[in-house]
C-alpha cells in the first residue's frame, strides 16, 4: 500500500463530553495514523478512558466528530465492532469458565479471526487453556483479556491501562505481546499512566490533562521540546546553612531550577560542564552536598514541566 502514512485510523474533531458536574473531554482534537501505536497519557481523571470509550462506541459524545477506520459509529456500528479489538479497564471475565471457553465465546461473535486455541497460544496461555479464569494470576487474566481482543483479528486494538496493577515481570511479558501485534502493522491506541510503558511501546503520544491534549509528538520530540535532555537532582545544605537557589540559575547551561520536597532539580543542556560548575558554586556558598543524582529526562518530566504535577499523584 503506497499511502500508508496518509491514512488515518482515528480522527477526533472537537470532541466534548460532560458528566453531571465535570467536563471529561473538552474540545479534543486527535489523529491516529494507521499502523502506529498511539499512547494517550495523563493522570487519572484526565479524560483518557472517556475518550477511548467514545472511540469504542460505548459512550455517546455530547458533540464533536469521530471517525474510526474511516467509519462513524452512527452509520457503521456493527461493521466497526467486527474490526476493533477491545480491552477495557478492569473487566472481570466469568470466573467459572475456562480460558478456552472464554476465548471461544468471544470468537463466536466475530465473522473472521483465528481459532480460539491459536489466540490462546499467541498470549502464551496454552498451559492454562483448561483452567478456570478464577484460578489465573493478574497477569494471566490480562493476557486472557488480550486474547479476547485479538481473537477477531482486529485492524485496530484499544488497550485501556493494560498493565495497571501488574508486577514488573507480568508487565514486560504483556509489552512483548503488544509489540508483536505492532509488528503485524496494525493500529493500537493505548492509555497508560506509566511513562516507561509509553516510551517503550508508543510511536507517538498525546499528553492529556483536564480533557484536552496539552502536548503531542513522539516521546523523543516531547522530551526534547519540553525538557532539556539531562536532569540533575541533589540535596544540599542544612538548617544552619541554606542554599542560595537563584545563584544556581546563573550557572551557564542551566535551563531551569526547581525545588521539590527539599531536593533541587536542575535541567541542564550538558552534564559534563554543568556538574563541575554546580560543585564549584556549592563550594563557593560553603554548602555541603548530601546527595547527587543525574538522569535523562522522561515523559514524566515532560508532564511535570507542563503541569507542575506528577502523573501518579492524584
Amino acid at each position: 500500500m503506497p499511502e500508508v502514512a496518509s491514512q488515518s485510523a482515528l480522527r477526533i474533531h472537537r470532541l466534548r463530553k460532560a458528566y453531571k458536574d465535570v467536563v471529561a473531554v473538552d474540545g479534543l482534537e486527535l489523529e491516529v495514523h494507521a499502523g502506529e501505536c498511539f499512547g494517550l497519557l495523563g493522570p487519572n481523571g484526565a479524560g483518557k478512558t472517556t475518550t477511548v470509550e467514545i472511540c469504542e462506541g460505548l459512550t455517546e459524545p455530547d458533540s464533536g466528530e469521530i471517525e474510526v477506520l474511516g467509519r462513524t459509529w452512527t452509520s457503521n456500528a456493527s461493521e466497526l465492532r467486527q474490526r476493533l479489538g477491545i480491552q477495557l479497564q478492569d473487566t472481570q471475565l466469568s470466573e467459572k469458565l475456562t480460558v478456552l471457553e472464554t476465548v471461544r465465546l468471544f470468537r463466536s461473535f466475530f465473522r473472521q479471526g483465528e481459532p480460539a486455541a491459536q489466540a490462546i497460544a499467541r498470549v502464551q496461555l496454552e498451559e492454562k487453556q483448561n483452567s478456570r479464569v478464577g484460578e489465573l494470576s493478574g497477569g494471566q487474566k490480562q493476557r486472557l483479556a488480550l486474547a479476547c481482543a485479538l481473537v477477531g483479528d482486529p485492524d485496530f486494538l484499544f488497550l485501556d491501562e493494560p498493565t495497571t496493577g501488574l508486577d514488573p515481570q507480568a508487565r514486560h511479558q504483556l509489552w512483548e505481546l503488544i509489540e508483536e501485534f505492532k509488528r503485524s502493522g496494525r493500529t493500537i491506541l493505548l492509555t497508560t499512566h506509566y511513562m516507561d510503558e509509553a516510551e517503550r511501546l508508543c510511536d507517538r503520544v498525546a499528553i492529556m490533562d483536564h480533557g484536552k491534549v496539552i502536548a503531542l509528538g513522539t516521546p523523543r520530540e516531547l522530551i526534547a521540546t519540553h525538557c532539556t535532555e539531562q536532569l540533575v537532582e541533589f540535596t544540599a545544605g542544612n538548617a544552619a546553612k541554606s542554599l542560595d537557589v537563584p545563584a544556581l540559575r546563573r550557572i551557564s547551561g542551566v535551563r531551569d531550577v526547581r525545588t521539590e520536597n527539599g531536593a533541587v532539580l536542575m535541567q541542564v543542556s550538558e552534564l559534563h560542564t554543568a556538574v563541575p560548575a554546580l560543585l564549584a558554586e556549592l563550594a563557593r556558598q560553603n554548602v555541603p552536598l548530601t546527595e547527587l543524582r543525574t538522569h535523562s529526562a522522561t515523559l514524566e518530566d515532560v508532564f511535570v514541566t507542563l503541569t507542575g504535577r506528577h502523573l501518579r499523584d492524584e
Partner: protein
C-alpha cells in the same frame, strides 16, 4: 470516506481469512447458552436450591401433613352417668375426672372438651370454640348424649370416605411448590447473573464486542427453558412416584403452563435487574417482589383464605395465576380453554415486564 480497507496495511498474515467455524457449536447463541449452563452447573449451591430443595420441602411437608385415620378425641367428664352415655361414641375417649383435675386437663390441652352437669339435668360443655378439635368433640358428645336419651334421627345418613389421590394436602402442595420453584429459579438465575455481569463490567465488555445483544438475553431464556424440563420432571416425578400425586391434564398443557410461567418470571427478573448495580440492591428488590407471592399466591395454603376484597389483586399476581392453572390441570384435568384467564394474566405480565425491561435496561 473511502471504503479502502485499512487491513491492506498489515503484513501478510495467514490467519486473517479464517472464517468462523460453520459448526452449530460456534454460533454465538449456542456459545452464550453454553456459558449459562456452565455457570449454573459449576455453582453447586444453585443446583441444590433449584433441584434438591423443593424435593426435600415436598417430602418434609408431605410426611408432616400425611392423611391419617380420623383421630379419637379426648374428653373429660365429671359425672358417671354422662360418661356412660358418651362411651357409646367410638370417636371419643372418655376420661372421668374430678372437676378440678378436669379443668386442669382442658386448660393444658390434654382433653378437647369438658362435659359437666348443669341445672335441671342439662349438660354444659366447656371448650375452646377456636379449636377445631373442641368443636368436633362438642358435636360428637352432643350427638351421643341426645341419642342415649332416646333421640331418633329423622333422616338417615351414611358416610362415603374420600381419601383418593388428588384431594390430599400433598396433591395441593406439589403444584404450589412447582410454581414457587419456577418463580424462584427464573428470577434468581436471570437477575443475579445480569447484575453480577454488570458489576464486573462484563456486560460492558460484551457490548464492546460484536455480540448481537438480543442473543445475550435470549441465551438466558433458552437455558431456562432447557433446565425447566429437568426441574419440572424432578418435582412432578417425585410427587407421582412417592405420593401418587396425579397429573390428570395433558402433559402438553403442563409444559405450556410451565414455560409460560417461567418466561413471565424471567421477564420480571430482567426488569428488576435492568438497572441494579449491586447484588444487594437486586436481591432486595427480588425479595420485595417475591415475598408477597410466597405468602398470598397459594403455595402452601389456598389464597381463598384472604379476605374477599383482596381476591381480585391476588388473582392478578403471576404466581397465583400459574399455581391455579397448574392445580387445575394436574388435579382436575382441566383443559387449556378452562385456564385462559390464568394464561392471559401470565402473558400480560410477560409482555409488560419484557417491554419495560428492554426500555430500562442498562448495559453498564
Amino acid at each position: 470516506m473511502s471504503d479502502v480497507p485499512i487491513s491492506g496495511v498489515r503484513a501478510a498474515d495467514g490467519s486473517r481469512n479464517t472464517p468462523r467455524g460453520n459448526s452449530f457449536a460456534d454460533h454465538p447463541l449456542v456459545q452464550l447458552t453454553l456459558v449459562r449452563f456452565r455457570e449454573f452447573v459449576r455453582e453447586p449451591e444453585a443446583l441444590f436450591w433449584v433441584f434438591v430443595f423443593p424435593i426435600l420441602l415436598a417430602a418434609g411437608l408431605g410426611i408432616a401433613f400425611r392423611n391419617r385415620p380420623a383421630e379419637v378425641l379426648n374428653i373429660a367428664v365429671v359425672s358417671p352417668e354422662l360418661a356412660e352415655s358418651l362411651r357409646q361414641e367410638k370417636l371419643l375417649e372418655v376420661h372421668p375426672l374430678e372437676l378440678q383435675a378436669a379443668e386442669e386437663s382442658l386448660r393444658t390441652g390434654k382433653v378437647a372438651l369438658l362435659a359437666g352437669p348443669g341445672a335441671n339435668g342439662a349438660v354444659v360443655f366447656h371448650y375452646d370454640d377456636t379449636n377445631p378439635e373442641g368443636r368436633a368433640a362438642r358435636l360428637l358428645a352432643d350427638r351421643a348424649i341426645q341419642r342415649a336419651a332416646g333421640r331418633a334421627d329423622p333422616v338417615s345418613t351414611s358416610d362415603q370416605l374420600v381419601r383418593e389421590p388428588g384431594s390430599r394436602y400433598i396433591d395441593f402442595l406439589i403444584p404450589g411448590l412447582l410454581g414457587m420453584n419456577l418463580m424462584g429459579s427464573a428470577m434468581w438465575s436471570i437477575g443475579f447473573a445480569i447484575v453480577d455481569a454488570r458489576r464486573k463490567k462484563l456486560l460492558k465488555r460484551l457490548v464492546a464486542s460484536p455480540m448481537p445483544r438480543q442473543y445475550y438475553l435470549l441465551s438466558f431464556l433458552l437455558s431456562r427453558i432447557l433446565l425447566l424440563v429437568v426441574e419440572v420432571a424432578a418435582l412432578v416425578g417425585f410427587g407421582a412416584l412417592l405420593f401418587h400425586v396425579p397429573v390428570r391434564g395433558s402433559l402438553l398443557d403442563l409444559a405450556v403452563l410451565c414455560v409460560l410461567g417461567s418466561l413471565s418470571f424471567c421477564a420480571l427478573g430482567l426488569l428488576l435487574a435492568s438497572r441494579a448495580k449491586t447484588i444487594e440492591a437486586a436481591s432486595g428488590l427480588m425479595n420485595v417482589v417475591m415475598m408477597p407471592m410466597w405468602i398470598a399466591s397459594g403455595v402452601f395454603f389456598s389464597s381463598q383464605r384472604f379476605p374477599d376484597v383482596m381476591q381480585p389483586f391476588l388473582k392478578a399476581l403471576p404466581l397465583t395465576a400459574l399455581i391455579d392453572a397448574l392445580r387445575a390441570s394436574m388435579l382436575q384435568g382441566a383443559h387449556m380453554a378452562q385456564m385462559l384467564p390464568q394464561v392471559g394474566i401470565m402473558i400480560f405480565w410477560m409482555v409488560l415486564c419484557f417491554g419495560l425491561a428492554l426500555r430500562l435496561f442498562r448495559w453498564r
